[in-house]
Symmetry: C2
């Protein structure tokens, strides 16, 4: 069997095909497989029909060593995956998995709920399926191993629960199981996080570097509204010329940093709020926020990081002018003279929240997320960001042209990036300039 | 040609297969197609290899009338979709689409950027492709129409830009184009939003009703941490017995409401924050928020609704005790005696923010999102919610057992649902009880 097994991910659910939910499981499973050195060749989603599920699984088993199926195992009646597994595995009855039944009892007991017939049924599996108990939920992982005769090569099928955090948790056991059958080849990834340069400008900027990359390094541009553009270099299997993958990825990262400077905010997959958390924790400093147009998103991002309470006392979301004036202490004259969307207002907001919370740094936003509410001088998509610290208060403007939700996300991420630059500058003493914005 | 065309969605990108990004485009495209009466049979994601893209598209064209491809059209070098379209369409050269080039110029000018060679290239398309200009971005939609001889039936391939809001925007034009070739059959969906009953309990509760549903009504349970469980009934094509689909879906919805009562918060796809916005706007009332453990997420959800400024003056995120005391005015003794995670504290927080903002309603949260920080009496996953209005202040406790981010989401959604119940009760005068929680 090949050192690098090929895998296909098959997610199930009518709700995916009518677009009612976004399939996040595929990404979680793909990531776990990729990190373990399994090469994912495709992901497929089909509806809740036995025939469609069967065809998709059989198709995938023909082309791959490993097939991971998820979804269609919930307790409710639109789920048919189990009967497909029954058929494909050649089972002749159902058996109750005692280990899973115990887990079901203890999970429901911890929530103060009775075990219903529908819950008990989750522990019942086709008799030719192996079971990996699912500690996080009621539906177990089922495994079917096919001999070479069946699909022309040895193949294994894993059926995971559809609940995202359960599917994610189960992947640890699945990867451990895969390792017992394959000596996995290594895949090396190195991700460099950048913020403030649009994808096309970034491509022009690093074009020369990219041309000179060894052919065995694959480069991908991964834009994300909250994280900026991630540059991902990948090496599949040890290069033939004996180059150490870790060393060459490190060297290329240094070159990229030389070209991109402060636009690089991390050399691993991280978010702006995680990097800000690292900077603040290392320096013992704190930050607070005063948000108008971002409506709490910056606070929500900062507090999504475990341990944020060490450096984040809190914030004011000042959506109305009266909250800006009465709680943050923005002088009425500023709003009258310059408007709420102005460098003067965000400066006063940033200074106001610092005074209220006593934090070392603060960030404030005021802008026009749309739809509607813009004017010629202050169009939809305009945001002013204010950053305050002992070194003074600075303001910077950014402009975007998206829908409301996307504008709010870009506003929040730009504000976090400006904050990151200021904190890094003051902590390190090196001057940084704001990216992609205009200073007032 | 069949009245209901079958469609496949093919998304492209190595970043999907290594799980670095979640494929949201498939859901957006699937939804647009489903609403137009096109039946999506599968979605497939493949990597950035010409061969994989070609195979996936050809496979999909064999099985479907319509294939929508997205991704792999960005300006950077990991994109190869265009050359696959060149080959499949039998093109013999590239031509520049003037309309798209004009759009590129005006988009970049509005951002104050120069048009780079890499941008101009986006308007260059294989000469056998039709072009639908993309007003929202630089890469156009490309269309290839295949005669019956090619795949055994007439087929059409649409290639969309990969940027999510551009793909979404392009679907309007794509659906209009599909309508010129197909008289689309109708699909009727009716979605009932519920909050506060877990999927398995819901299934037991409505089991009898579900058994009696006509066979042509498909029911799906769609759980979401922020929205609760949506129940979606679907009818594909007019029932043979002549029943009016709209009428029967309305009748079944009334029955469901009779069984589920206040757990139903909308009879269409809506979020809790949208329903709260509707209630507040209709009654001319306002709400403010005081968040500890939810860290701004409730504020962020409320302000994600356009026009939220009409009823939402703002909030305080009081992550630290000192912000709870100094800004919200929570008495120090309360935190000393009962702790920050207590009904006494959230009641004081809710009353404090109402006093600060003068809002009619307020909601406050304090809990333990984890990881760590819990104790025996106050475990990770516990949240207290306080709701205050002129009618008084009430508190309710909820318990969950998830990871940090998921706990925060559940806390925020439970708080919004409790708020919704209180507003609905006070506005309508009907008493409601909180769902799935314990009152203090």
């Amino acid at each position: 069997m090949a050192a690098t097994p090929y895998a296909s991910i098959c997610t199930i659910g009518d709700e995916i095909l009518i677009g009612q939910i976004v399939d996040t499981n595929s990404a979680v499973i793909a990531r776990a497989l990729g990190q373990a050195g399994v090469r994912v060749t495709e992901t497929v989603s089909v509806g809740d029909s036995g025939k469609a599920i069967r065809n998709a699984i059989v198709d995938a088993l023909k082309k791959n060593d490993i097939v991971i199926v998820t979804g269609g195992l919930g307790p409710t009646k639109d789920d048919v995956t189990k009967s497909v597994l029954y058929e494909l595995s050649g089972s002749s009855g159902y058996v109750t998995d005692k280990r899973q039944l115990d887990i079901i009892h203890s999970i429901l007991a911890s929530r103060g709920l009775d075990v219903l017939g529908i819950n008990r049924q989750q522990a019942s599996v086709p008799d030719r399926c192996e079971v990996i108990p699912n500690r996080l939920g009621t539906a177990p992982v089922m495994v079917v191993r096919f001999p070479e005769a069946e699909y022309g090569h040895k193949a294994v099928l894993y059926s995971l629960p559809g609940v995202p955090h359960e599917a994610s948790g189960a992947m640890e056991d699945v990867v451990a199981d895969i390792r017992t059958s394959y000596s996995l080849d290594r895949i090396w990834h190195k991700t460099i996080m950048t913020y403030g340069i649009a994808e096309s400008a970034l491509s022009e900027k690093i074009g020369g570097w990219e041309e000179e990359l060894p052919a065995y390094i694959h480069l991908a541009y991964l834009p994300d509204p909250l994280k900026g553009v991630a540059l991902r270099m990948s090496i599949y299997g040890k290069p033939d010329d004996g180059t150490d993958p870790v060393r060459i990825l490190g060297e290329q990262t240094s070159r990229l940093r030389g070209i991109l400077g402060e636009a690089v905010y991390a050399e691993e997959e991280k978010t702006l709020q995680e990097v800000i958390g690292d900077l603040l924790r290392a320096s013992g400093k704190t930050v607070s926020t005063a948000e108008s147009c971002t409506g709490g998103m910056i606070a929500s991002l900062l507090t999504s990081v475990p341990g944020a309470s060490e450096y984040y006392p809190g914030s004011v979301v000042s959506y109305s002018n009266s909250v800006k004036e009465n709680i943050l202490g923005v002088p009425e004259e500023i709003i009258e003279k310059y408007g709420a969307v102005s460098p003067e207002c965000v400066a006063a907001m940033a200074e106001g929240i610092r005074k209220l919370t006593g934090s070392d740094f603060s960030v404030a936003t005021s802008g026009i997320a749309g739809p509607g509410g813009g004017s010629e001088g202050k169009p939809v998509g305009l945001v002013w960001v204010g950053i305050s610290s002992d070194a003074g208060t600075r303001t910077v403007q950014f402009r975007f042209s998206n829908d409301r939700q996307r504008n709010i996300e870009r506003f929040a991420a730009s504000a976090l990036n400006a904050l990151r630059c200021v904190i890094a500058e003051e902590v390190s003493g090196h001057q940084q300039s704001f990216m992609e914005g205009k200073s007032a």
